[in-house]
C-alpha cells in the first residue's frame, strides 16, 4: 500500500486542516441565529487583543495612581467583560470544533495552549498550566516578538466528580483575568456548568452535511490511493458515524489496513468499527448470558470490549433476572456478582488495582457460568436505570410536601419521611373525606396529594 514506507500517523492528524480556507466549516448558531463561525471567531480574537490593550494601558495608569494615594482612595483595576474574554463551542464529537481552533490559530499566527480531559483538571493543575500563561507573557517575549497565545480548554463538559473538584470556579477565575483569548469546547449542555455558560457566548456547532463529508472522504481516498473500497461501503461508514467526520476518517484508515477482497468482510469490519457503545453493550450482555460457557470465553469477551467496566457490571446486575430464571442458578450468579461488587469496593477504596482480575472473573465469568441451561431466543436488555445513590435525595414534590407539613407540625425531614408520612398514608386511605380534610389542612396541590397514595 502507498503509505507503508511512510511513518504511520493517524489520518485524523494527517488531514487536520491547517487553515480555515481549506476547511469544511460546520454551521453554527448563537442564540438560535445562524452565524458564520469563522468570522465570529476571527472578530472575537481581534477585538480581544484590541480591548485588552486599552485596558492594560488604563490599568497601568491606575496602578501608578494607586501607588501615590492611601489605601482607601485607591481605584480598582479595570477588567475585560468575560463575554469578550472567552467563547464556548458546543457540538457533538468529531465535527471539527478543535480543528477550527487550530486552523484559526494557524491563520492568525498564534500558539495554542491546550488542556483537555486527559489532564487531571483540579484547581491546582489548571492554575499551574493556564494561569501563568493567561496572566503574563514569558521572559522571551521581551526579547523577541513571540507568538500570541490562544488558550483552548477542550472537553469542558468532561469536568465532573471529585477528580476535577474546583475546576469550574478555577476556569471562571482564569476567564476573569486572562491576558489571552480563551476558547472552550464541549459536547453537551451540562447543568452544573450553567454559571460558566452565563459568563460567555455559547455557539452551537452543527455537524457537517453528508455531501461535505462525502467530498472530504473522497479526497482522502484519492490521496491515500485506497482501491479496495466500494461506494456502498463509504456510504455505510458515513451513515454509521452520523456527522462525526473524525469517526469517518478513523474508520477509513482502519479499513485501508484490514479490508480483504471479500465484500462481506469489509461490511462486517465497518459494523465492528461502529462506535455506538449502547449497541455494543446490548450485544455484549446477550453474548455473556446466552453464549458464554467457560471462564475463558467470558474473559475474552470482556477483554475485547472497551465498554467501561464501571457501567458493565451495573448492566449485568440490571439484566441478570431477565436471562437467568432458575432460582438456584440466579442465587449463585448473584452470589458471584455480590462478591465482585465487594472486591470492586475494596479496589476503589484502597486503590488495590491488583485485585481487578478477580473482579472481572466474578462479575462476568462467575455470572455467566452460574447458569447451566442457557436461555435462548430474544430477551430484552434494559438500561441500568436505577441508581442506588440517587435515591437518597428528595425530589421536588417530596420537598414541597415536607415543607408544608413542617409549617403545621415541627418535625425533621427524616421523621416526616419515615414516621409521619406513612401514618398520613394510612389515615388518608381510610376515606375520601379524611383525604380531603388532610389535604385542606396542609394545603396540598395534586402533585403532593399523589405522594399520599
Amino acid at each position: 500500500m502507498a503509505q507503508k514506507n511512510k511513518m504511520e500517523i493517524p489520518w485524523v492528524e494527517k488531514y487536520r486542516p491547517v487553515s480555515l480556507e481549506e476547511m469544511a466549516l460546520p454551521t453554527a448558531k448563537l442564540n438560535r441565529q445562524k452565524v458564520d463561525l469563522a468570522d465570529e471567531l476571527k472578530n472575537f480574537i481581534k477585538s480581544f487583543f484590541k480591548e485588552i490593550k486599552t485596558i492594560n494601558e488604563k490599568n497601568k495608569k491606575i496602578k501608578a495612581y494607586n501607588r501615590t494615594v492611601s489605601e482607601k482612595k485607591q481605584k480598582e483595576e479595570k477588567k475585560l467583560p468575560t463575554e469578550k474574554a472567552a467563547v464556548l463551542l458546543e457540538g457533538q464529537p468529531g465535527i471539527g470544533k478543535t480543528s477550527i481552533v487550530y486552523a484559526l490559530a494557524n491563520d492568525l499566527n498564534m500558539e495554542v495552549v491546550e488542556t483537555n480531559a486527559s489532564d487531571t483538571r483540579t484547581r491546582d493543575t489548571l492554575e499551574a498550566k493556564l494561569k501563568e500563561t493567561s496572566k503574563s507573557r514569558g521572559i522571551m517575549d521581551f526579547i523577541t516578538e513571540s507568538k500570541k497565545k490562544l488558550i483552548l480548554i477542550d472537553e469542558v463538559d468532561g469536568i465532573y466528580g471529585t477528580k476535577d473538584r474546583g475546576a469550574v470556579p478555577a476556569i471562571m477565575d482564569i476567564i476573569k483575568d486572562t491576558q489571552f483569548p480563551i476558547i472552550l469546547c464541549a459536547n453537551d449542555y451540562k447543568s452544573n456548568l450553567s454559571s460558566l455558560y452565563n459568563m460567555i457566548k455559547r455557539y452551537e456547532v452543527h455537524p457537517l452535511s453528508n455531501q461535505e463529508v462525502v467530498k472530504i472522504t473522497e479526497s482522502i481516498i484519492k490521496k491515500e490511493d485506497i482501491k479496495n473500497i466500494k461506494k456502498e461501503d463509504i456510504e455505510l461508514i458515513i451513515e454509521k458515524n452520523a456527522g462525526d467526520l473524525r469517526g469517518v476518517i478513523n474508520d477509513l484508515q482502519a479499513i485501508s489496513h484490514g479490508a480483504k477482497k471479500d465484500d462481506k468482510d469489509t461490511q462486517d469490519l465497518i459494523y465492528s468499527l461502529h462506535r455506538d457503545t449502547t449497541e455494543e453493550i446490548f450485544g455484549l450482555i446477550r453474548d455473556l448470558f446466552q453464549k458464554v460457557g467457560t471462564l475463558n470465553e467470558a474473559r475474552s469477551l470482556t477483554n475485547k470490549s472497551d465498554v467501561d467496566y464501571n457501567f458493565l457490571y451495573k448492566w449485568v446486575n440490571e439484566n441478570l433476572p431477565t436471562f437467568i430464571n432458575q432460582t438456584d442458578e440466579r442465587a449463585e450468579a448473584y452470589e458471584n456478582l455480590s462478591i465482585a461488587d465487594k472486591i470492586f469496593g475494596r479496589i476503589r477504596n484502597n486503590m488495590e488495582w491488583s485485585l481487578l482480575p478477580y473482579f472481572f472473573d466474578l462479575f462476568a465469568g462467575g455470572v455467566a457460568i452460574a447458569s447451566k441451561n442457557k436461555s435462548s431466543g430474544f430477551r430484552r436488555v434494559s438500561f441500568p436505570r436505577y441508581s442506588s445513590s440517587a435515591s437518597y435525595s428528595l425530589n421536588n414534590a417530596e420537598k414541597a410536601l415536607i415543607k408544608k407539613i413542617r409549617k403545621q407540625y415541627s418535625i425533621s425531614q427524616m421523621e416526616a419521611l419515615r414516621d409521619f408520612l406513612p401514618f398520613l398514608r394510612i389515615l388518608t386511605n381510610i376515606s375520601r373525606r379524611k383525604l380531603k380534610e388532610v389535604t385542606d389542612f396542609l394545603d396540598l396541590n395534586t402533585k403532593e396529594k399523589n405522594l399520599l397514595k
Binding site: 442465587a331 456478582l337 425531614q413 419515615r418
Partner: protein, 347 residues
C-alpha cells in the same frame, strides 16, 4: 385557625402543664423558669417520647412573649441545601478590607454551623429576657463538627443558651457533655398515659376500656404520637375501640412493604421483589443498612422455625457486611433477595 384533622397535631401539648407524666423533669424545668437562669441543657431519651416538645414548651414559657424573636430550633441531621452551602462558602473568607488578624484568611468553621447556628447565636437578645435559646435536635448527627460547636458554646454562651437533644449520649463528645446539665427524659408512665387517652376519648366521644389502653401502652412503647395515631385510625371503624380493632389497625402501622418484600422473595418472585425493594429504598430514603435492619425486624416477627430464622439472619448479616465494602447497594440487596428465594425453595 381550623382545628387539625390530624389528632397528633391537635393534641400536641401547648404548655409544660399539658405534658403527660414526667413530673420530676417538669418541676426541675419550672424551677429554672422561676430562677431566670440555666446552663446549657442536654436532653437524652429514646425516640419519639417527647423530648423536643418538652424543650420547646420550656423555651416558650421561659421566653414568654419574646419567644419568637429569641428562639430557634435546628435539626442537625438535615443536610444543607445547595444555596446554604454556597452561602457558607462565600462567608468563609474574611474580606481583605476588614481590619484584624483574620483579614484575607479563611475561616474554618464547618458549613452547617456557619449557616444554621452562627447567625442566630451572634445576634443580640431582643426584649426583656436574659438570653436566647437554641435547640439542636439529633445533636449526635453533627459528628466531628461537635468540636466547632463546643467553641460556639463557650464564645456565645452568655448570649444564647443551648438545649441539645439526642437519643444516644455515646454519640456526643465528652467536653460537650461536661458543659451541660443532663436531663434523662423517661417514657410516659402508664397512669398519665391512660389519663391522656381517656381525655382524647372523651373529646372524640370514643369508648375505650382500661384493658385496651394497657395494650395500647405496650404497643406504642411510650411513643405518644404513635399511640394517638393508632387511636385515630381505629376510631374510623366505630366509636367503640376493643382489642380486635386495635390489633387490626396496629398491623397497618407495621411496615407492610418490607413484609411483602420478604414474602415475594419466599415465593420466588424475584423481579417483583426487586422492584419492591427499589421502591422502599426510594420512598423511605433508606440506606442499604437501614433496609437490612427493617428486614431483620420483619424476619423476627414471622412464624419461622428457629433454624430457618437463624439462617435468614445470617444471610442478612452477610449482605449488610458486603454492602459496607461494596460500591452498589442494589447488587447487595438483589443478592440477598435471590438467596432468600433459593433458601425458601429448599425449605
Amino acid at each position: 385557625m381550623n382545628e387539625s384533622p390530624i389528632w397528633r397535631i391537635k393534641y400536641l401539648p401547648k404548655s409544660l402543664d399539658e405534658i403527660s407524666g414526667r413530673e420530676n423533669i417538669r418541676n426541675r424545668l419550672r424551677e429554672i423558669i422561676q430562677n431566670r437562669n440555666f446552663p446549657h441543657l442536654l436532653f437524652i431519651g429514646s425516640e419519639g417520647i417527647g423530648k423536643t416538645t418538652l424543650a420547646r414548651l420550656f423555651a416558650k414559657e421561659f421566653l414568654g412573649r419574646y419567644y419568637d424573636a429569641n428562639f430557634k430550633l435546628v435539626h442537625a441531621d438535615v443536610p444543607l441545601t445547595s444555596e446554604e452551602r454556597s452561602q457558607a462558602r462565600s462567608d468563609a473568607y474574611v474580606s481583605t478590607s476588614k481590619i484584624g488578624s483574620m483579614a484575607g484568611k479563611r475561616i474554618t468553621t464547618p458549613a452547617f454551623i456557619q449557616v444554621k447556628i452562627k447567625p442566630f447565636v451572634q445576634l443580640k437578645v431582643l426584649g426583656d429576657v436574659p438570653f436566647k435559646i437554641l435547640i439542636v435536635k439529633n445533636f449526635d448527627a453533627l459528628g466531628s463538627n461537635q468540636q466547632g460547636f463546643r467553641r460556639l458554646m463557650e464564645i456565645y454562651g452568655s448570649n444564647c443558651r443551648m438545649i441539645l437533644i439526642t437519643t444516644k449520649i455515646s454519640g456526643i463528645i465528652d467536653p460537650i457533655v461536661s458543659r451541660c446539665q443532663l436531663f434523662l427524659v423517661p417514657q410516659v408512665d402508664f397512669k398519665s398515659f391512660s389519663n391522656l387517652i381517656h381525655k382524647i376519648a372523651d373529646e372524640e366521644s370514643l369508648k375505650i376500656k382500661d384493658k385496651v389502653i394497657e395494650v395500647l401502652y405496650k404497643i406504642s412503647k411510650g411513643k405518644l404520637s404513635r399511640a394517638i395515631d393508632i387511636l385515630q385510625v381505629s376510631s374510623s371503624q366505630g366509636n367503640t375501640i376493643d382489642m380486635n380493632t386495635l390489633y387490626e389497625n396496629t398491623r397497618k402501622f407495621e411496615n407492610e412493604l418490607v413484609r411483602s418484600l420478604i414474602l415475594l422473595s419466599f415465593k420466588g418472585k424475584f423481579s417483583k421483589a426487586r422492584e419492591q425493594a427499589r421502591k422502599i429504598v426510594s420512598d423511605y430514603k433508606f440506606s442499604s443498612h437501614e433496609l437490612f435492619t427493617e428486614l431483620l425486624k420483619v424476619i423476627n416477627k414471622l412464624p419461622l422455625s428457629i433454624y430457618a430464622r437463624i439462617k435468614l439472619i445470617d444471610m442478612i448479616a452477610d449482605a449488610d457486611f458486603r454492602a459496607i465494602d461494596g460500591r452498589d447497594d442494589d447488587i447487595q440487596i438483589s443478592t440477598l433477595l435471590a438467596k432468600i428465594s433459593k433458601y425458601a425453595e429448599c425449605m
